[in-house]
Amino acid sequence: MAEIKLEHIYKRYPGNDADSVTDFNLDIKDNEFIVFVGPSGCGKSTTLRMIAGLEDITKGDLKMDGEVMNDVHPKDRNIAMVFQNYALYPQMTVFDNMAFGLKIRKMPKDEIKKRVDNAADILGLTDYLQRKPGALSGGQRQRVALGRAIVRDAKLFLLDEPLSNLDAKLRVQMRTQIAQLHQRLKTNMIYVTHDQVEAMTMADRIVIMNDGKVQQVGTPDDLYNKPANKFVAGFMGSPSMNFFDAKLENGRVSNGKGLDVAIPEGRLKVLRDKGYEGKKLTVGVRPEDIHTEQVALEAMSDALVDAKVEVSEFLGTDSMLYSRTGDTEFVAQVNARDYHKPGEEVKMAFEMSKAHFFDDDTQVTIE
């Protein structure tokens, strides 16, 4: 319903001597679902709060539908927000907490009731409507906070880790609900999460931040398959990508201690064209691109590594093999059928056609 532009936005909290958000740029298109991810403390909540108008923007412009909004009062921005720490009204019942924003807007009583009941139903809060927040469990509080946002017809929804206290099942359910809400309302949503799956499944585009700076903006697929730099590559995916410091020589990368694998033609050409022959670089291989099945070992015989399994974890369909080659540790995610006991020496095939290469200095992806 709105186009939102963040132009060169900076934030410095009084008392801190570094910016908490640096040169943030983002164009949110109409009806887009944006997800912010990034490590704890990277500035996600801060950015959200600036969009909401709860924090002053230190520098830069926030525009909605072309208008600069920096000085517009939060209540006039028509934004709904779910706070990371709930911020429920302690003196009101669950019902009143959700109804408050509607009452304020003078919605008819029965319409309010309808909406709140509906939201309570979706959120499994029907039994708690008359309780006060003090007598709710952590997850229940979070759901109330969510309900407070979804009953409203806001132009923009800001959700700061709205599901972090919910169990997996409810999470999946809520995820679907939020996606449907987004479909139905055709509003913009900005969603902060630290859950990979949430980010991957819900986002139209993901903004990945680190240390106050945007690292990459793109679709989930982009970020996963074409990470802009080592940080993004390492952050997306769980368990995260394995990195090896190595040298490119004779069409192979090796670190002299265990790793010595050939690089497929096409990729090698790019690396050579960019002048990395004989130079150091970082090789990234995702755990799921490391294989132990016989078929794979045979198919990728020029990219075999001798590894020792140190810990093996069983996770339903898959097993994680925490392994070591030379003095480098890495993780392989293999089918549960290919189970290996800790201590076993195993040959592993690295699927180098899916490997990533990063400049050793700038950490930027080489492509």
């Binding site: 000085d71 009062h73 720490n85 709930y86």
Partner: protein, 272 residues
């Protein structure tokens, strides 16, 4: 808050401030006038040969300012410290225990505030006199009795906004009740402590009736000395106004300093 509304708030504040300050303008200007000057025209500025600073000199001497300031300070500071300490403790016990008994005790404290002082003063001083407690120390104890109720009431009200999880967390870390209270809860009460402190300081600093009954003349406080300016017929306003100005300066200075603590909300980040 945007600039324009800040500006208008400032203007509104300024206007109200002027109205509030007007009586002080009168106190200050008249304290610099001769007695004749005061009554010639109370509202005007000192001038016309009626301006003088001798009131301050004389008042300073007549009040025996240094020694009565000392008594006032000692009595006020010690009483307020005792009050803050014991009433915050009592409020803590009452707030964290949600039982009928603590409800009843709270009501007991609260109802004590409703008893007019004049009706207890004779039995009170009689009892304390018999215990040889009609002196500074007895006075301090009486202030605990009279003013604890209000302090407890104030503390008890804000204590509710300190999440009980704070206590629980400290308790699990091995702190006993006193440690929980003094190390965790009490520091979080700073804004209300400052408020309680200020309210009691002014009440005790200005109190006249009780100390006049309790203190021997060699322990007189400023307000008691000040009443020597008010004979049955001769009221020496010029000295009294100068004396008042002298005696409220310490409290104003204190208040300005203490404000910083009231302003600094300390509980942010406590509640998730």
């Amino acid at each position: 808050m945007k600039k324009t509304s800040r500006f208008f708030l400032g203007i509104l504040g300024l206007l109200l401030g002027i109205i509030w300050l007007f009586p002080f303008y009168m106190i200050l200007t008249n304290s610099f006038k001769t007695p004749k000057g005061i009554f010639a025209s109370v509202l005007s500025l000192p001038g016309n040969g009626q301006a003088t600073t001798t009131n301050y000199n004389n008042s300073f001497k007549a009040l025996d300012f240094i020694s009565s300031l000392g008594h006032s300070l000692l009595i006020t500071v010690v009483s307020v410290l005792i009050l803050v300490l014991f009433s915050s403790m009592a409020a803590y016990a009452l707030q964290r225990n949600k039982s009928k008994l603590s409800g009843a005790l709270l009501m007991l404290f609260v109802s004590a505030m409703l008893i007019p002082f004049q009706t207890v003063m004779i039995p009170l001083t009689a009892n304390f006199g018999q215990a040889h407690m009609l002196n500074m120390w007895g006075l301090m104890f009486m202030y605990l009795g009279f003013d604890a109720s209000l302090s407890i009431f104030l503390y008890q009200g804000t204590m509710g906004s300190i999440p009980i999880a704070m206590d629980e967390s400290a308790e699990l870390e091995g702190a006993n009740r006193f440690q929980i209270f003094f190390k965790i809860v009490f520091p979080m009460l700073t804004p209300i402590t400052v408020t309680v402190g200020i309210l009691n300081i002014i009440a005790i600093w200005n109190d006249y009736l009780l100390p006049s009954l309790v203190l021997p003349q060699n322990q007189y406080t400023i307000p008691l000395q000040m009443f020597f300016f008010f004979g049955q017929y001769t009221k020496q306003w010029h000295l009294a106004l100068a004396g008042l100005t002298l005696s409220i300066i310490p409290v104003i200075i204190f208040y300005i300093f203490a404000q910083r603590y009231i302003i600094k909300g300390v509980t942010d980040g406590a509640v998730k």
